[in-house]
């Protein structure tokens, strides 16, 4: 198994190592003091304690890198608080040591060098902890919202700083080494440049800024305190500073102080503008709420509420309301800090007040769409802003914003209100469109139900015997149609066959088609002659068809024993009949009148019945005008001649094949033009 060190493990290991290193550094120093006292040479080279010191720094850097640097927190106050707390503890430790010294001031203990070394080391530990932890936090702040350039320059600075840890091997000191001074200069310059990065300050609110100032100020005080402890001598005579022998610590001090001071100043100067920034941020959030309200499934009223609240807080309005017209009904009102009575009074005053129109576009004429500013008198409100709310290109209502001061709305406010109003309009529009889409979906569903119901009205099995083959095909232009065909076995070797077409198409045609089905199924039971069937059907339909509706029908009685066809045409397209003996086809040219056209007993006079015999391989093609009158893009009809020719050429095929050829030729003819009528065909081939 592969061992993978966790963050926790690394930080624990590094802190343990760091403390062990510190203990050994302190021990070595104490031993050195003891050795010096008793003139014993420890035989320890200078490099060992230096290396230990460097490793100690690195351990702590690693520890804080994982403790603070990796912690996922974007709360700056928390980070600053952490630095403050560490600073507080370290300072207290340091002060305690000092206090201890003052209490033992005049005793021999104060002279004890071992104790002095120990306390120095305790102070040193405290300083190191403060410096390194502060450094880690400052790094996080500098790199907040980092750019590539910033990351590169920071990495250079950090690498240099890390390298400077090992500078102590040279044993050089600031006071007399040019190299030291030069390196320090470079680091300090970089520190100053990098200290300019404080984007985080902008994201603090007013309260947080004050907290930050306080915390950073205290951290600065700790830093100065420790700096003084380490480097400034008590007597300021000849040598102001102690020997500065550690480039790393000194550079670190410089960077930390510089960043603290810069931050303090920047935050301080940012204090007055923070309220504006906060407001802008709030506006952005409100704007987002307006645009997102749809997704949360909120309704229109909630959108208007958000709009009113956002707008009021954006312009510091004292009261306001939104009025949405409801097509003649009582308008919808959403109010804030104003009563109905007061509202109506204010409205009257607004009508009287001095108006100033703000046109968005000087070319736009419609006064209804103007944003209007009104100065009011004789009311506790002195100015009003009226913004029309537009939904789907129509004025849906108005928003009124009221202020207790006169001329209370400036250009920026009006702009932001416009943006809010527009966004709210879009949200409402989307909301309504969504509703409409759902409604449409429901209608579609209903139509699909109607479609499946109608499908069930069309016979699945066509009655016939071995004397003829029969095949049918039907398609509706819309979900439902008005074409109809049906068969019935009247007796052994006697079959009734019907094909019909209801005038018009779509839903109304579909209703009449179902009535026709009912009439056929009832009358056919009576085994009527073709004439009686049509007369009775006409009488029945006359009572239930719409004024302008009629049904065309062809009715056939096929007797397979006698090998005869008795047929009558009620205004339906003439049947195409192929005679094998003639080797060609023709249309039945018999007279007839559509059902429901003449709604009285005179109808019987218009019914003509024909009778003929059929022979083997004769073909009857029954169809609706959706086929014969189908047009192509040139407005040319599919037509009778084309159909006749098609049948002549394909008479050797079986009914299924003939139907398929007809329909594919029909589609070919129409090209990409949609068929706008229902089309049906029934093909019979005699054996």
């Amino acid at each position: 198994m592969k061992f993978k060190p966790t963050t926790k493990l690394i930080s624990r290991l590094s802190i343990t190592l760091g403390i062990l290193l510190w203990v050994s550094i302190a021990a070595i120093q104490i031993l050195q003091v003891l050795a010096q006292k008793s003139d014993v040479d420890l035989g320890l080279s200078q490099e060992v304690p230096r290396l230990l010191l460097d490793l100690f720094f690195i351990s702590f850097l690693v520890y804080y890198h994982f403790r603070i640097g990796k912690a996922e927190t974007s709360n700056f106050i928390d980070l600053l608080w952490r630095v403050f707390a560490i600073g507080l503890v370290t300072t207290i430790v340091s002060l305690a040591v000092e206090l201890f010294y003052t209490t033992i001031a005049n005793t021999t203990l104060a002279e004890n060098e071992m104790l002095a070394t120990l306390t120095y080391n305790i102070n040193f530990l405290a300083i190191s902890v403060l410096l390194i932890s502060t450094f880690t936090v400052w790094k996080k702040l500098v790199l907040y919202q980092k750019s590539r350039r910033l990351v590169v320059s920071w990495n250079i600075f950090e690498a240099l700083l890390m390298a400077s840890i090992f500078f102590n091997f040279t044993g050089l000191v600031l006071q007399n080494s040019v190299v030291f001074q030069l390196l320090y200069g470079v680091l300090a310059l970089m520190a100053l440049v990098l200290s300019a990065n404080m984007k985080w300050v902008a994201y603090l609110n007013f309260k947080q800024k004050w907290k930050s100032i306080l915390l950073i100020l205290l951290v600065t005080i700790y830093l100065v305190y420790f700096f003084r402890l380490l480097y400034v001598t008590d007597d300021s005579s000849t040598n102001f500073f102690y020997e500065i022998n550690n480039l790393f610590v000194f550079s670190l001090f410089t960077f930390l102080l510089a960043y603290s001071v810069f931050s303090l100043l920047v935050i301080l100067f940012n204090l007055p503008t923070s309220s504006v920034f906060e407001r802008k941020l709030e506006e952005a959030i409100n704007f987002q709420r307006l645009s997102q309200s749809i997704q949360k499934g909120e309704n229109e009223n909630q959108i208007f509420d958000i709009l009113l609240n956002s707008s009021m807080s954006a312009v510091y309005a004292d009261s306001g309301w939104i009025e949405i017209d409801k097509n003649g009904d009582e308008p919808l009102l959403r109010t804030r800090h104003i009563s109905r009575v007061n509202l109506n009074e204010v409205k009257k005053l607004i009508a009287k007040g001095k108006r100033k129109t703000l046109l968005r576009n000087p070319l736009e004429k419609s006064s209804e769409e103007d944003r209007t500013l009104v100065n009011i008198r004789k009311s506790n409100f002195r100015s009003a802003l009226i913004v029309p709310l537009k939904v789907q290109n129509k004025i849906a209502g108005q928003m009124y914003l009221l202020k207790e001061v006169s001329d209370g709305f400036n250009k920026e406010m009006i702009n932001i209100i416009n943006t809010f109003a527009n966004q709210a309009s879009i949200s409402v529009e989307n909301f309504r469109l969504l509703g409409e889409a759902l409604e449409n979906e429901r209608y579609k569903e209903e139509l699909n139900i109607a479609k499946s119901v109608q499908r069930a009205l069309i016979p699945k099995k066509l009655d016939h015997d071995e004397s003829f083959e029969i095949h049918a095909f039907t398609e509706a232009a819309a979900e439902v149609g008005g074409d109809y065909y049906d068969t019935f076995k009247l007796a052994e070797s006697k079959f009734a066959l019907v094909i019909g077409d209801v005038s018009g198409n779509g839903t109304s045609a579909a209703f009449h088609m179902s009535q026709m089905k009912g009439i056929f199924q009832s009358l056919v039971q009576l085994n009527l002659s073709a004439k009686d069937f049509l007369v009775n059907a006409n009488t029945a339909l006359s009572r239930c068809l719409e004024r302008t509706s009629f049904i065309t029908l062809s009715y056939f009685i096929i007797d397979t024993k006698e090998r005869t066809i008795e047929f009558s045409r009620a205004g339906h397209c003439p049947t195409l009949y192929y005679s094998k003996s003639k080797g060609s086809s023709e249309y039945f040219q018999n007279q007839g009148l559509g059902l429901g056209i003449l709604r009285n007993e005179r109808y019987a006079d218009f019914v003509h019945v024909n009778k003929m015999t059929f022979e083997k391989d004769d073909i009857a093609v029954l169809y609706t005008d959706g086929i014969s009158e189908a047009t192509n893009s040139e407005k040319e009809e599919f037509g009778y001649d084309r159909m006749q020719k098609l049948l002549d050429q394909n008479a050797h095929y079986d009914p299924i094949m003939i139907q398929k050829i007809f329909i594919s030729k029909l589609y070919e003819f129409c090209g990409n033009k949609d068929l706008n009528d229902d089309y049906t065909m029934v093909v019979i081939k005699f054996k």
Binding site: D501, G571, C573
Partner: protein, 112 residues
Amino acid sequence: MIEINVSTENNYLLIHVEGEADASSSIHLDNVIKESVEEGHKNILIDCTNLNYISSAGLGVFMSHLGEIEEKEINFIIFGLSEKVLNVFNILGLDQLLTIKKSKEDAIVAIS
């Protein structure tokens, strides 16, 4: 699309129908005929010279006024039907119930 012009000439009302009489446009035709019949005109001539297409719904309009025309003894004459449109009238059998003439002259002769 359908365009309908109504004009009074001599002793008859001339209804000029132009374009296509389909399910939606035939509603206009229905309204015009209904008005003319209700206004009590005794001679109504329908000029279909420029009627390119008539759907079953269009035929339904003519059909629906048959009863009233007969009842009020109105001379209701259609003329100028194209071969294609006339065929549609014939198939349905409406030619047996309506007076259909070839030209305006024939129609005028029929009412006088």
